[in-house]
């Protein structure tokens, strides 16, 4: 419960920081890695719902064409986080998803950023996607320059917390 409250506060502050500096921090550059980090930190159903709700609140506050990120990012997170049937440990993940654990968080962040930029495209832009590709890539680059290092730092922090026993590995969900 304490973890949930703390993660909620962290996400709220991050959203406020992003809103306060729209010129320096592009939409989602800080919030998406932090939300993904909270997902990985909590690794529970309530954490998943809290993070999804925060993504949804962010979309309501700053709407784009489609809320693809709150729709699909929790599903992608489940693929990364759900415990496998063979092993009860969260840290191993599913056997077919052979991605090293420290890379999972940056990859989920990358997927969330891509979903957000795809969701911000209007139907007209979707129709002319090849022509818009350079603009989309440019926007992605601007967000990822901040988002990926932040998610790497969070991933490292989570790993360290695991190593030092500062975080519960199992949760009741």
């Amino acid at each position: 419960m304490k973890g949930l409250f703390l993660c909620g506060c962290v996400m709220w502050v991050t959203l406020a920081v992003e809103l306060a500096n729209p010129s320096r921090l592009p939409h989602g550059s800080l919030l998406l890695p932090v939300i993904c980090g909270c997902l990985f930190w909590l690794r529970s159903t309530t954490g998943l719902i809290l993070s999804g709700t925060m993504l949804l609140l962010d979309w309501i506050a700053r709407p784009s064409f489609l809320p693809l990120c709150p729709m699909l990012a929790p599903m992608l997170a489940v693929i990364c986080l759900a415990p496998s049937t063979r092993s009860d440990e969260y840290s191993t993940g599913r056997s077919w998803l052979r991605v090293p654990a420290p890379l999972q968080l940056p990859l989920l962040t990358l997927a969330a950023v891509i979903l957000q930029s795809l969701g911000s495209l209007s139907p007209e832009q979707w129709l002319s996607l090849p022509a818009q590709a350079s603009t989309v890539l440019e926007n992605l680059k601007v967000v990822l320059v901040i988002a990926l290092p932040v998610s790497a730092v969070i991933s490292l922090t989570i790993r360290m917390a695991d190593e030092f026993g500062m975080r519960r590995v199992f949760s009741q969900g």
Binding site: W12, V13, L15, A16, V17, L19, A20, N21, P22, S23, H27, T45, L48, I49, G52, T53, L56, L57, W59, I60, A61, R62, P63, S64, F65, L66, P67, P70, M71, L72, P74, M75, A77, V78, L81, A82, P83, S84, T85, S87, D88, S120, S122, G173
Partner: protein, 324 residues
């Protein structure tokens, strides 16, 4: 078994989020989310204001590197002296201008005694909502609300004024008086504590009294007055123009008054279509000059009493009783 249960719950949660997001998207299209958007921004405002205040304090603090070296210190001192001298000159000039303006204002008050009661103030605000959204979803939220005294229906303007494309060919010389007006962006639709929702000029329900302004080789001519109405599309329409009046494509549209009070003339846009319909009415379309895409800061025009009257009004009742 436990892992299976947790995985099922997680998938259930994720699927629930998917459908919730879908429902929210549908609610947004139908306009059901409009009241919630300023509420969310308002809930985030305390944190945002703290961050803004901290950033401002960092900017204000002197740089450590500058104070370290003596040479840099001297250089700074010289710069300050130069700045002081410039400020003194500017101060003297401003005093002279103020004296002149006071004389002019007293003359205006003699001519128009009623206008002196009202005073317009401009409250600056930053745009909180994101840029580059599709027009149908675009909602402008600014970071000034009830705490700054903002109320509903106040006009929101952008600083960039009308560009007058007349030069020496039109007998314009240096020293001529140039009328510039700020562009009207919209009107305050809802004011929360720290943020306000703006109704853009072209959104359905927006109305304002406007005057048409025509440029001719002889100069500017003020034309007919009508009501500018937002259509919910890119263009606005002007209604209430008598069939006897003349309207032409290219006419400029400026404000006739600000919420019924004579005030600064603000720019709305340009007439792009003017057709005389069979029923004896004008169908006038106006392209708004304000663009919401790259808007970062706006001004909110507040109408209040003249300062002296307002101060008098704020005096405590006991003090007023003592005065004869």
């Amino acid at each position: 078994m436990r892992a299976d249960q947790i995985r099922q719950r997680m998938w259930l949660g994720a699927t629930g989020m998917f459908f919730l997001s879908l429902m929210v998207a549908v609610a947004d299209r139908t306009g059901l989310l409009n009241p919630f958007r300023p509420m969310i921004h308002d809930a985030l405002s305390p944190g945002r204001l703290i961050v803004v205040a901290m950033t401002a304090r960092e900017k204000m603090s002197p740089q450590a590197d500058v104070s370290s070296g003596q040479s840099l210190h001297d250089e700074q001192l010289k710069k300050n002296e130069l700045l002081l001298r410039q400020l003194m000159i500017e101060n003297a000039r401003l005093r002279r201008d103020l004296k002149r303006e006071k004389t002019a204002a007293s003359l205006v008050q003699m001519i128009e005694p009623l206008s002196s009661l009202a005073q317009f103030r401009l409250i600056e605000a930053s745009v909180v909502s994101t840029g580059g959204m599709p027009n149908s979803l675009r909602e402008l939220i600014v970071d000034a609300g009830k705490s700054a005294g903002i109320t509903r229906s106040e006009l929101v303007i952008a600083g960039n004024g009308i560009m007058v494309d007349a030069g020496t060919d039109h007998s314009v010389n240096s020293g001529d008086r140039v009328l510039t007006g700020a562009v009207v962006v919209g009107r305050i639709d809802k004011a929360a504590r720290w943020v306000s929702l703006v109704q853009p000029v072209n959104s359905a329900g927006f109305k304002a009294q406007v005057t048409l302004l025509r440029r001719t080789p002889d100069g500017l001519h003020f034309g007919v007055t009508g009501t500018l109405e937002g259509t919910g599309e890119e263009e606005c329409s002007v209604t209430g123009i008598p069939h006897t009046e003349a309207v032409a494509v290219g006419d400029e549209v400026i404000s006739a008054d600000v919420n019924g009070v004579k005030g600064p003339q603000l720019y709305f846009g340009r007439v792009t279509r003017a057709e005389f319909l069979a029923g004896g009415q004008w169908d006038v379309r106006v392209q708004p000059a304000a663009s919401l895409n790259d808007l970062e800061s706006v001004g909110i025009l507040r109408l209040g009493l003249e300062r002296a009257i307002a101060e008098k009004d704020q005096k405590p009742a006991s003090e007023r009783r003592r005065t004869p």
